[in-house]
């Protein structure tokens, strides 16, 4: 079994090496991590127009206090017409964290992820004209976040919590905050297969799509997001729905706090 894995890993590696050798746009990575061009090709699909851009702001603590819950805020609101934001790390067993489609939301998102080692975190922002803008921050970490079993399994009732959504909206401040209970198993912890939420979508009460997030394994256990909207765009409630890779449905209605 181990040999097989090594074999697969080796063949995968050689594919990557070939793939990364020739990107259509050759960038001078300010962080010089040596791996960015691979991600440029394999995660972003080797775009014809791509550059590093200071208008993509990625904020996170300089050091990960809890490698299972590293908070990140990406803000690309200085760039008009954002189609999607792809978040990934340079170093980690599963580099891609999530893709955010802002739709009616601001091009800004807060989330948490599991970090496996010290690494740059990159935000690649695609605009509607197909151009990519890349920003980053660097996070130091003790590591191990991706290979530890979910904490949920320490309790017997995790299945009852599965898919529960803790959330509120603040229409006057254009803000949605949500925490969705889910183990988000990476498949890298012993004998536990991949078990993750794949898709979360926000709709307004008339069913119009407000925003969508595609999640991958590195998103933290019990994914937590803040989404940002222009004032007046959010009404009194929104629908949050999605599903995980085992077909479990998530469906919730978030409202403004009663005190407002």
């Amino acid at each position: 079994m181990q040999k097989l894995i090594i074999g697969i890993a080796a063949s995968l590696f050689s594919t990557i090496a070939l793939a990364g050798d020739d990107t259509r746009v050759v960038l001078d990575d300010p962080l010089k991590t040596g791996i960015f061009s691979y991600h440029q090709k394999l995660i972003l699909g080797d775009p014809a127009r791509i550059r590093f851009d200071d208008r993509v702001v990625v904020k996170a603590p300089a050091s990960a206090e809890d490698s299972l819950n590293v908070p990140v805020l990406v803000d690309a609101t200085a760039i008009p017409n954002v189609k999607r934001i792809v978040m990934f790390v340079d170093y980690g067993p599963i580099p891609k964290i999530l893709t955010f489609y802002p739709e009616k939301a601001d091009a800004k998102l807060s989330f948490r992820f599991k970090i496996d080692q010290a690494t740059p975190v990159r935000a690649a922002v695609e605009t509607r004209d197909g151009a990519w803008h890349v920003g980053h921050t660097i996070i130091d970490a003790a590591g191990g976040g991706c290979t530890a079993p979910a904490l949920a399994y320490a309790s017997d009732d995790w299945e009852e919590e599965l898919g529960k959504v803790h959330a509120s909206i603040w229409p006057d401040r254009g803000r949605v905050r949500m925490v969705v209970d889910h183990p988000m198993d990476t498949g890298l912890a012993g004998d536990i297969p991949v078990f993750i939420i794949e898709n979360l979508q926000l709709d307004d009460s008339s069913g119009t799509k407000l925003a969508r997030i595609e999640l991958h394994e590195p998103v933290n256990e019990d994914p937590a997001f803040t989404l940002y909207f222009a004032k007046g765009k959010l009404k009194d409630q929104i629908r949050i729905h999605g599903r995980d890779n085992n077909g479990n449905e998530i469906d919730a209605i978030a409202r403004a706090p009663v005190t407002q």
Binding site: D66, V72, L73, R173, A252, I253
Partner: protein, 320 residues
């Protein structure tokens, strides 16, 4: 950071070769030596005062207060520091305090800066609450990984040595000196405070901090505040806080209570306003707390420790 690791490498090389003579200055600067001085705080009681900082390559993790108490059987050592090397330095620094040597060790809780010097004392009783002993066993290795990462060569040779004797009674008598035992919690799930009956000195462990920001990786704020109330009722003549200078007026208990109240309130407000952790990290900190050692780093660490649970508590469930 890079400079220091290179310096460490140079020192390592120098010590194993005759090259020492070629770089005497660099070698001296790279020597990692703890300078521990016992300060007398009461009759037969000394403390070794730690830096009010976070772990750094400069302080070698000597950020904790250790207490030495004289008894007719020898010294009682309360908390033993962050490393084997600290334990050795501690043993040497206190040798002059008693001809009888060390009779027993007590660990106030299972955090690495308080018990990683135990290795030096593994032939004598090392007391702690039973829960602390268990936690030191289960979490010790993970602490050790992180301490080696943060402190590097300072940690060389350090092996996790959990306490070997559980305290189950409400008092402890060592060499005719009587101690009252307070099994409390809040800083961790098992915090021991010890009152020396002879002098009324309270060794509070990390339930009390003074002019150094309290740490919260395993904290339960509500229980911590209850424990502080109990310690105030003790009305001690003097307090050795876990971190910070000797406290003759009870300031450490009041300051720690005030900080925990502000911290809890600040984080709850951030959750209630829908802020993400990264936004909560940018909260303004009152001047009185910003002036404490290890700030704003400890506040930032606390956001990481406490925010996820507060969100689950405060944000309403919304499933259809």
């Amino acid at each position: 950071m890079r400079n220091i690791s290179r310096r460490t490498a140079v020192a390592g090389l120098a010590s194993t070769t005759a090259a020492m003579a070629f770089q005497p200055a660099a070698f001296a600067a790279a020597k990692k030596i703890y300078d521990l001085v016992p300060i007398k705080v009461a009759d037969g009681i000394w403390m070794i005062e730690g830096a009010t900082e976070y772990f750094t390559q400069d302080n070698g993790g000597a950020i904790v207060n250790c207490t030495l108490i004289e008894t007719s059987a020898g010294l009682v050592v309360i908390d033993t520091g962050p490393s084997l090397r600290y334990g050795v330095a501690l043993r040497n620094a206190i040798a002059q305090l008693s001809t009888l040597g060390v009779a027993a060790v007590i660990n106030t809780h299972h955090h690495p800066d308080h018990f990683f010097g135990n290795q030096v004392f593994n032939q004598i009783p090392i007391y702690a609450l039973e829960e602390t002993r268990k936690l030191a066993e289960t979490e010790g290795d993970a602490f050790s990984d992180n301490m080696y990462r943060l402190l590097g060569d300072w940690m060389r040779g350090t092996e996790v040595t959990p306490p070997n004797k559980a305290i189950a009674s409400s008092s402890l008598s060592i060499g005719e000196r009587e101690f009252l035992i307070y099994p409390l919690e809040g800083h961790t799930s098992s915090d021991l405070a010890i009152l020396d009956k002879k002098t009324g000195t309270l060794i509070a462990g990390d339930l009390a901090f003074l002019d150094r920001a309290p740490t919260t990786p395993h904290a339960n704020i509500a229980k911590w505040k209850e424990s502080l109330q109990q310690l105030k009722a003790v009305d001690a003549a003097g307090i050795v806080p876990g971190h910070g200078i000797f406290d003759r007026a009870g300031n450490s208990l009041n300051q720690t209570t005030a900080y925990l109240e502000w911290l809890d309130q600040s984080l709850r407000t951030s959750v209630t306003e829908g802020l993400d952790m990264v936004e909560a990290l940018e909260s303004s900190i009152p001047e009185e707390f910003l002036a404490m050692g290890a700030m704003p780093q400890e506040f930032q660490r606390s956001v990481a420790h406490l925010y996820p649970d507060l969100e689950r508590e405060i944000l309403p469930l919304t499933n259809r």
